[in-house]
Symmetry: C2
Subunit: 324 residues, 2 copies
């Protein structure tokens, strides 16, 4: 295009080999004028590297995911990677679809957030051999993960409720998948009650979907039990917000009549009234840790462990009252 070979152009674009100053200028100018943009497909084909990271999340309503993605973005960009995001709606079909799409498109690695990891996908992950990190949940120990210590966090939240004098504590848990965080948070609940010598009342544990609407529906079920609990531990803030809504709807006050405890610390949790007490952690940190280690995996670098735990703490606000 500018009196130079195509190889030279490649070299100035990539700075891969020394190029004479005048020539470089000439090439740069020509590129400017032609409005030239290199074809990444061709480059990736030749280099067998795409610098693309696939990120799969179920949905995006959950503001925690915004932080997560920002964390991933931040360190990815730092290392020269770009991310491709896709929404799976949490279905196996979509997860499989995007997983394969990322492989076909030659993504260098994948970060996967999945509430309900099915065996079929796990198998696919194993045979494909593509670097992958699971995020936000505990896992089979064959695939690397970063998440909060769900069992402990839930245990601490419920123990806190017990310390406030509650003994009738219900849980709105997430439908159980293999070993998703839903199960682990429930385990924490069980452990806390056991330790306090409180037995579990079946009608006070209900499986819920993850939307606010699901929280409303699930709360109604609890209210239909023979007796009412004094506190509800919810597996997620969105469920908690739904639960609070239903309670207010039927004329019960939070926390005077019923206390509520959430999990996730989404932004809305502090904008609703009463402000929601919840388990907080940094989704951004999860994202950064995942991206950082995924890139190490891709580069074949040494990795410090295969499971990273991000810290959490209880954010006590106004949705829990003390019983005496």
């Amino acid at each position: 295009m500018a009196g130079v070979s195509i190889a030279t152009v490649s070299r100035v674009i990539n700075n891969s080999k020394p190029v004479n100053h005048d020539v470089r200028i000439r090439v740069l100018k020509a590129m400017e004028q032609t409005n030239f943009l290199p074809n990444a497909m061709a480059r990736n084909l030749a280099k067998k590297e795409s610098l693309l990271l696939g990120v799969m999340v179920p949905e995006v309503k959950n503001t925690v995911l915004d932080d997560l993605i920002n964390g991933i973005n931040q360190v990815s960009r730092l290392y020269g990677y770009n991310i491709m995001l896709s929404l799976t709606a949490g279905t196996l079909e979509n997860e499989l679809h995007y997983f394969n799409m990322f492989r076909e498109i030659q993504a260098d690695g994948i970060i996967l957030a999945s509430e309900n990891l099915k065996e079929e996908l796990v198998k696919g992950i194993k045979v494909s051999n593509i670097p992958l990190i699971l995020v936000g949940r505990d896992s089979l120990d064959t695939v690397p993960t970063v998440h909060v210590d769900n069992v402990t966090a839930a245990y601490e939240a419920v123990t806190y409720l017990i310390q406030q004098g509650h003994r009738k504590i219900a849980m709105l848990r997430v439908r159980s998948g293999d070993i998703a965080s839903g199960d682990h948070r429930y385990q924490g609940y069980v452990r806390a009650l056991n330790e306090a010598g409180i037995s579990i009342y079946k009608d006070w544990v209900v499986e819920s979907g993850i939307s606010v609407e699901d929280g409303i529906t699930s709360m109604r079920k609890i209210c239909e039990a023979e007796s009412m609990p004094t506190a509800i531990f919810c597996a997620t803030d969105r469920i908690a917000i739904g639960a609070m809504n239903y309670l207010l709807e039927i004329g019960l006050r939070v926390p005077e009549d019923v206390s509520i405890f959430g999990f996730d610390g989404i932004d809305m949790s502090s904008f609703i009234r009463p402000k929601l007490s919840t388990v907080k952690y940094s989704a951004e940190e999860i994202g950064m840790t995942a991206a950082r280690n995924l890139i190490k995996l891709i580069r074949g670098e040494e990795i410090s462990s295969r499971h990273w735990i991000v810290s959490h703490y209880l954010e006590n606000r106004d949705s829990v009252c003390t019983l005496n």
Copy 2:
């Protein structure tokens, strides 16, 4: 791999040419065993078509975007396209980065949601010549758009407030960009007041960022004005939620002391108390319309117009009271 030429394999994968049944079976089996996945980069290079749509949105906290993306996804998949999502945080730098990345990666088209479209990007769009649709906002008439009629919707919302007896109406508007929806919603506000013969009080119009926190800050500014308005029209629900929060914080009641009207109809708008009155529309419909027409553009098909309007309506809930 299975005693056939590579060309034949290509033909069975794509069903592009008739292939003998036995041979096809043989190829399929071999693919199964090898766990073969075609290299999309190579295919795209050869076909000069990626079946990839780039989608750029500023952030993902706004639940409206979840619907938007689902709408886009739905029709994209229907036509065999996959989408690549990227978060721009609304900055020009990121928008430029991802815009170019999508071009380099040979995306067939782009859907862009941008609150503050800068001239530099617009220029890039024009010279690049890549099919692109702008979403959620009005625009220069050179680039195709799909959005709600922001001026009219805002006009209707404010007119409704006036009909309820309000005459002291403030607006928390979005910082003005060229002709972004922020400006248009403000125009609707102005028109409604003018028509009612109410003059605009400068201290009651404040520019706000788009987060809930921004809403809090902006509401504080209004409260610092010499006198208080009786109603606030907010450019987005998130701003409205922030405003309501600040009001409650300083001991004012909504709607008894101050009425609030939002815009967007995000899910949280009906979960907070009082339930927020707001302008609703289907972001999913915006997404579907955008994807459908982008694909037409890509295929060089006839297009019915260059600007599509999605309908809206007022969802009157509990955050507005009637003055007498």
